[in-house]
Each structure stands twice: as structure tokens, then as C-alpha cells.
């Protein structure tokens, strides 16, 4: 099912009564959001906390009412439709499994509410449990399950009614690191097997990048960029997106364009056709090439050997962050104990941003 979001806005009214009357002082969690989610895709809403991604999800689910704007499932306007009539499955951040019911009762609960005969409901519950691989745990109570198992039960409960749309609110945030890796692949698998349009919310860019078909990056209620993960990584729309994606994060320098050359400090690192102006220069960690006669000189702090590659931690007076991280292949021979190293920069890993608007220049 295709989801279309048009000019969606959500404002939480101010607590101050006077301001509330005058419709001022509220908090706009989602601001004029327009996206189109193609049918059968896995879409991630990504952003730092407080960026409105969960609010968007709850508006899709029908638990929150938008202040303005419209939501369409295919061609049906569902903006004012009650949650239970939208045909969606929602997995809560802390799962919200009913603690007094067994796993089976939990999974069957939506079906019981749809007045599906018990035998059929049980069969469907078992099928769904198999899909998420918890068929052995049907008689247990949620308190007797591990976090990962609880999460599968929550997904099964959301899937059992064969929803048109599956919504996941930070589905991995309560799991430990290893389980998180495993579960995110699991989510991807389940989504592929069922072909259900899935929207999921996360603040973890790695998680989003690894499983999403499409990623929506948000900041303070405003959509920053929509696209395939790799596209967004390679071609960020602005400084925020560039900064938010990638581990280790991108290195940002205060620079300047003078006469077709990009300067960091007094060193020209690249050429450009953009008019002269102060800029932010972003260089991905993997964008540095060690060269004894390189264009950019960095003061080396220390070098971390990671096995596959080396991570050079260095400083530069123009850097906006205290340290700069550059990753080079472990085969690259670096001079031992050198206080300064010089690098060339890969042109496709270098981004220029307007110093004021922080929009991408190139």
C-alpha cells in the first residue's frame, strides 16, 4: 500500500492558557511534511531525538491527530480515520505486550477483536509466530521472555492481522548491540517475505542505512532529505545530513573559496567553480589519501590500528570539532612518530556547504 503524506503538520499547544488561546507558543513537532512512500518498501524515519519522527509515525497510526495536512493510504484519505480502522500494525518502542496474557493470547488479541473464529485465529497466530520464529514460546507470559523474544512477539502481534502498513517505533532501541544487528536483519527478512509497506523510526543512522530502502532524514520537524541510504550518504543535501550520517562522522573545517580554489587555513585542497565565499568544508574520514607531499597538513595526535584499516586522529585549527579522524588502508605505510602528516583529498568525498545557510554548494 502506497502512503502519501501531504503538508503534514503537528503542533502541540502551549501549556500557557493565554498563548494557547492566541494559538502561539506551541511546539511544532512536524512541520509541513510531504513524502510519498512507495508500496512494499521499507522506509526509515531518521533523526536526532525530538525531530518529530515518532510523532509522524503516530499520526500515520492514527493515535495522534495532525494539526493540518493529509495522509493517504493508496487513494483513501485516512487523516481522520480511527486507528483501529486504518489496518495498520504498530510495534511500540517498549513493545507494550499485555503482561497478563500469554504470547499466544497477545498475538491473537487483534484477531479476537476482529471476531475471527478461535480455531482460525489460533492457526493464524501460529503461522505468524513461525514467521518470527517464536512458535515454541506460545504458552509463556511476556515477563518470561528475553527482550529480543518480546520484540518478536510484538512484531507478530502487529503482523497477525495482515496489516496494510507496518509501523515500528524505535524497534531496536531496547536490545543489546549484538541482538540489534540480528534483529534488524530479521526485520528486513520479515518485511521482504510479507511485502508489507513498513515505516520505521530510528535515531541510529547505521541501523537505518543498513536496512532501509528509502531513508527520510528529519531535523526539528522538517524533512531534510529523502532518498536511498547510499545516495544520501554520497550526496547530502546540507551540513546537518552530512554530519548525521556516517561513523566515524564527517570532518568539518571552516574554509574559504578564493579564486576557484578551496582553502582550509592557508592550504588549497581542491578546485571549484563556485564564487568566492566562506564555506564549511566536509571531508569524509575515508576521503583522505596519505601523500608525503599532500595538500592538507594535519597535526597527528595518535593512530588507532583497527586491523582492516588505520584510523588517524589528528588536529587542525580550522576544524569545527576537536579532533579529525581519517581512515586509511592498513597497508599504507605511515612515517613513524611524525608530528604532522599531509593528505590529499578525494574529490567525491569532499563537500562544500554555505557558511550561513549550511546548504550544500557542491
Amino acid at each position: 500500500m502506497k502512503i502519501t503524506i501531504q503538508n503534514l503538520t503537528k503542533t502541540f499547544p502551549s501549556r500557557n492558557k493565554k498563548e494557547k488561546k492566541e494559538n502561539k507558543g506551541g511546539v511544532t513537532a512536524v512541520n509541513d511534511m510531504c513524502i510519498e512512500i512507495p508500496s512494499g518498501k521499507l522506509v526509515g524515519l531518521l533523526g536526532p531525538s525530538g525531530c518529530g519522527k515518532s510523532t509522524t509515525l503516530f499520526m500515520l497510526s492514527g493515535l495522534e491527530q495532525p494539526t493540518s495536512g493529509k495522509i493517504f493510504f493508496d487513494d483513501q484519505d485516512v487523516t481522520t480515520l480511527a486507528a483501529e480502522r486504518r489496518g495498520i500494525g504498530l510495534v511500540f518502542q517498549n513493545y507494550a505486550l499485555y503482561p497478563h496474557m500469554t504470547v499466544e493470547q497477545n498475538i491473537m488479541f487483534p484477531l479476537v477483536n476482529m471476531r475471527i473464529p478461535k480455531a482460525e485465529a489460533q492457526a493464524r497466530a501460529l503461522d505468524t509466530a513461525r514467521l518470527v520464529q517464536i512458535e515454541d514460546l506460545m504458552a509463556r507470559k511476556p515477563s518470561e521472555l528475553s527482550g529480543g523474544q518480546q520484540q518478536r512477539v510484538a512484531i507478530a502481534r502487529a503482523l497477525v492481522k495482515m496489516p496494510n502498513v507496518l509501523l515500528l517505533d524505535e524497534p531496536l532501541s531496547n536490545l543489546d548491540a549484538r541482538l540489534r544487528l540480528q534483529t534488524r536483519e530479521e526485520i528486513k527478512r520479515i518485511q521482504r517475505e510479507t511485502g508489507i509497506t513498513t515505516v520505521f523510526v530510528t535515531h541510529d543512522q547505521e541501523e537505518a542505512m543498513s536496512i532501509c530502502d528509502t531513508m527520510v532524514v528529519m531535523k526539528l520537524g522538517v524533512v531534510q532529505q529523502i532518498g536511498a541510504p547510499q545516495d544520501i550518504y554520497d550526496d547530502p543535501a546540507n551540513l546537518f545530513v552530512a554530519n548525521f550520517l556516517g561513523t566515524p562522522p564527517i570532518n568539518i573545517f571552516k574554509g574559504e573559496i578564493r579564486k576557484g580554489k578551496v582553502y582550509i587555513g592557508k592550504e588549497a585542497v581542491a578546485t571549484t567553480e563556485i564564487a568566492d565565499q566562506p564555506v564549511y568544508v566536509g571531508i569524509r574520514p575515508e576521503g583522505f589519501i596519505y601523500d608525503a607531499k599532500g595538500a592538507l597538513t594535519l597535526e597527528t595526535d595518535h593512530i588507532e590500528v583497527m586491523g582492516r584499516d588505520k584510523s588517524i586522529v589528528s588536529r587542525h585549527e580550522s576544524s569545527t570539532k576537536p579532533t579529525i579522524r581519517s581512515i586509511v588502508d592498513s597497508d599504507v605505510a605511515l612515517p613513524k612518530g611524525a608530528a604532522k602528516l599531509t593528505f590529499n583529498v578525494k574529490p567525491n568525498k569532499l563537500f562544500l556547504f554555505n557558511a550561513e545557510t549550511e546548504e550544500r554548494l557542491i
Binding site: 492514527g62 511500540f92 499485555y98 503482561p99 497478563h100 479476537v112 507470559k141
Partner: protein, 446 residues
């Protein structure tokens, strides 16, 4: 070892005042710590800065315990001499308490090693120290023994004495006669029988408690779902809790009986008038809710069911039981995570399903608590009946409860019947509580 050295110290001349004795009794860990203080390693680490003071205080304690051997005459002679503690000593005490936990184990070992070498006096001192926990609970234990344990025991014993007189303490021998007479209704005093009182109590309890719990649940769910005036409603619902039960009984009596009518009959209360107004009663006929001619079913010589009065009592008890139950259930509802309701909404649960499949199980521990305590309280019901029907509890105790029955025989001086009745009540409450526990352990989830 430090211990040996200490115990060899002769009883000193220093006087031991009562005040000091009290300190020692209260600061029990001190006893363990004073030895620690003399063991360089343990003491100097734990209470290094207080080391000297601890030693000084340790000496004082030593003197006291050896001083148990000071002649009684001396002890009483010094009773009224005030010997204020110095500031240093107080500091020392604090340090000693801090050091105490570390020293405990060594002390125990040392004590057992040296036990055999001690004199009787010293052994007594040691015993006092090691068993000091008792001193703390002693006041409560004494009070409970006098006012709780002994009366229970006494009731158990005296229930089996025939024709027992509390004045003279005389009785005609042992046996089950009291129980037999109570259960048969053959007490020779007239008035309602034990069976009548038991049935009354059971009916009141097992109708009014579940009913008021159910009503409280519905009201608190409703209360929880509204926003405007929530606090105001909360206050209104809680008001009956602050009202005296006798006063409420009097008001109820007025509702159901005479006052405020033009017809000069005893049975035209406001309730009858409302029922007439609604057409539920044929014209000019009234239900005599509380009076002597109140309708009833006669089951047997020992048992009648005055159903009209039952209705009054049950309405009264439901109403007076509501506030506390609403208070408890409302706060339980507020602590239920809202996310479960969101999840239920997504799962398409109707309001009814949410109430019975989500809300009720979530607060089932509280519901169970209310039922158990409500039933226990219902079994002990007394004042409401007196409030509604007066001291005679209806006509010749026909509305009497179990406690009313017991109280009546205490007043009459038939203590044997009262004892027997109270033991039977005790047994019944025990059985019901056991059943309650069985049920709630199965039904009350998580």
C-alpha cells in the same frame, strides 16, 4: 588477644549511672566495636581519627559490663546521680557504630573461645549483649502480649468452660457445650440466633463487597477517562469516607422511614415516595423498610430473611464502601501505562474489551486486595447496623451481625457464648481468607 586483657580488668570504682546503662542498651553494635577498637588493624582502619575516643568509650562500656557485678546496693545508690556524657564520648559512640559492622565476626569468634573462662556474672552480661535485639522489640511484645495474645488465648481457654462467670471466675467444668448451644440457637436468652446473625453477615458481605467493588471499578474508570472536573468528582466520591458511620446510618434511616411526610404513618420515607412517583409501587402501598412490620420470609424458627431491611443495609454498605475503593482503584488506574491503551486501540479492541481484558487484569492485584480486605471488614460489620436499626439491631437482634451477636453476649454477661461465637467467627474468617488467597493466586495476573 585484646579480649583476654579486657576481661581481666577488675571492677572499677567508677559509678555506673542509669543513663549510661540505657546508652549501652540502645547502642548495641557498640559492644562488638569496643573490642575492635582495641585491635589495631581493624579499629585504626575503620575509625582511625576517632581511635582514642573509641578506646576511652570502650573502657566505659567495659566498666559497665563488669559493673553488672557491682553490688545492687551500689547500683541503686548511684541511681539518681547524673553523669552527663561528654562531647567526646558522644563522638566516640558514633565512631563505634561505624566500626561495629567490621568487627562483628571477630567478636563472635572471640566470645565463643572465652565463654568457658567467664564467671556467671560476666556470662550474664554477655548474654544481655548478644541477645540485645529482644530489648528493642520488648515494649511492643509486652503490649501485644497483654492486649492481644493473652485475650486470644484466654478466649480459646474460656470458650470451653461451661457457665463461666467473669466476676467470680467459677465454671461448671469443661466441654463443648457453649459451641453446641450457640450453633443450635439454644442460649436461653431469646433474640436472634447465631445462625441468623451468620446468615445476615454473609448476605451483607457477599453481596455488598463485590457489588461495591464493581461499582467502584466502573466509577473510577469513568473518572479516569474524563478531564474536566475530575478533581471535583474525586472529592465528592471521597466525602462519605470522612463521614461517621453512625451519622450515615441515621441519614439512611431517615431516607427509608418516617420523617418529612404528610401522612402520619411510619413507613412513608423519601425512598417510598420516589418509588411511588416512578410508579414502581401501587398507589397508597408502601414498603415498611425499617419498622416492626417490615416484610420478611420466615425460613425456620431460627432463621428469617427480612429482605426489605437487607436491601437497606446492602445499599448502605455499598455506598459507604465506595469511597475507599474508588480511591484505591483510581490511583491504580493512573499507574497503568497508557501505551497499553494505545496498543489496544491499534488492535481494534472495543471499550468493553479494553475494560475487561486490559484494564481489569492490569489492576487485578488492587481489586483482589479490596475484595479480601472488604470481606474481612464485612465479617466484622457492626456499627452500620447499630446506626440503621439502633442498639437492639432491628427487632430483637434480627438484623444482628456476628460481631453484634458476640457483643450482645458480652454485655449480657454470657461470656461463654461470646467466646464460642468469636472463635467460630475467627474460624470462618480464616477459611474465607484461605479461599480468597487460593483464588487470587490463580486469577490475579502478574
Amino acid at each position: 588477644m585484646a579480649k583476654t586483657k579486657k576481661t581481666s580488668v577488675e571492677p572499677s570504682e567508677e559509678k555506673v549511672t542509669l543513663e549510661e546503662a540505657a546508652i549501652v542498651a540502645e547502642e548495641m553494635p557498640v559492644t562488638a566495636a569496643d573490642e575492635v577498637a582495641e585491635q589495631p588493624a581493624a579499629a585504626e582502619e575503620t575509625a582511625a581519627s576517632f581511635g582514642d575516643k573509641v578506646k576511652a568509650f570502650g573502657g566505659k562500656i567495659k566498666e559497665f559490663f563488669v559493673g553488672v557485678g557491682v553490688k545492687t546496693k551500689d547500683f541503686f545508690g548511684n541511681l539518681f546521680k547524673k553523669d552527663k556524657k561528654t562531647k567526646e564520648e558522644k563522638l566516640g559512640e558514633m565512631a563505634v557504630v561505624a566500626a561495629a559492622s567490621d568487627g562483628q565476626i571477630e567478636t563472635v569468634v572471640a566470645t565463643s573461645l572465652l565463654e568457658s573462662k567467664l564467671s556467671a556474672k560476666e556470662k550474664f552480661g554477655r548474654f544481655c549483649r548478644s541477645q540485645s535485639g529482644w530489648l528493642f522489640v520488648l515494649p511492643a511484645v509486652i503490649l501485644m502480649a497483654v492486649f492481644t495474645f493473652w485475650p486470644i488465648l484466654s478466649a480459646f481457654i474460656n470458650a470451653f468452660k461451661q457457665n463461666y462467670s467473669t466476676l467470680t471466675g467459677k465454671y461448671d467444668g469443661w466441654g463443648f457445650e457453649n459451641f453446641i448451644r450457640v450453633l443450635k440457637g439454644d442460649t436461653g436468652t431469646g433474640g436472634a440466633t447465631f445462625i441468623q446473625c451468620l446468615v445476615n453477615t454473609m448476605v451483607f458481605t457477599f453481596i455488598s463487597v463485590p457489588l461495591s467493588t464493581l461499582l467502584a471499578l466502573l466509577i473510577s474508570v469513568a473518572l479516569n477517562s474524563i478531564k474536566p472536573l475530575q478533581k471535583a468528582y474525586q472529592t465528592i466520591y471521597f466525602l462519605p469516607y470522612l463521614t461517621n458511620s453512625l451519622a450515615m446510618g441515621a441519614v439512611f434511616a431517615t431516607f427509608f422511614a418516617v420523617i418529612g411526610t404528610t401522612k402520619n404513618t411510619e413507613n412513608v420515607g423519601i425512598v417510598n415516595q420516589v418509588l411511588q412517583g416512578l410508579g414502581l409501587l401501587p398507589n397508597e402501598t408502601f414498603i415498611n423498610w425499617l419498622g416492626t412490620s417490615s416484610p420478611k420470609w420466615v425460613i425456620s424458627a431460627n432463621l428469617t430473611i427480612p429482605w426489605a431491611k437487607y436491601i437497606v443495609v446492602i445499599i448502605y454498605e455499598v455506598w459507604s464502601g465506595l469511597p475507599f475503593k474508588i480511591l484505591i482503584l483510581f490511583s491504580a488506574l493512573q499507574s497503568v501505562n497508557k501505551q497499553y491503551y494505545d496498543a489496544a486501540k491499534i488492535d481494534g479492541a472495543s471499550k468493553n474489551t479494553v475494560l475487561w481484558k486490559i484494564t481489569t487484569p492490569m489492576i487485578s492485584p488492587m481489586i483482589s486486595y479490596l475484595l479480601v480486605t472488604g470481606i474481612m471488614g464485612g465479617m466484622k460489620q457492626y456499627s452500620a447496623i447499630v446506626g440503621l436499626f439502633g442498639e437492639q439491631m432491628g427487632i430483637d437482634y434480627d438484623m444482628g451481625t456476628m460481631v453484634g451477636y458476640i457483643y450482645r453476649y458480652i454485655e449480657d454477661g454470657h461470656m461463654g457464648y461470646a467466646f464460642a461465637g468469636s472463635l467460630i467467627l475467627f474460624a470462618i474468617i480464616m477459611i474465607i481468607t484461605a479461599i480468597n488467597r487460593r483464588i487470587s493466586s490463580k486469577k490475579v495476573s502478574y
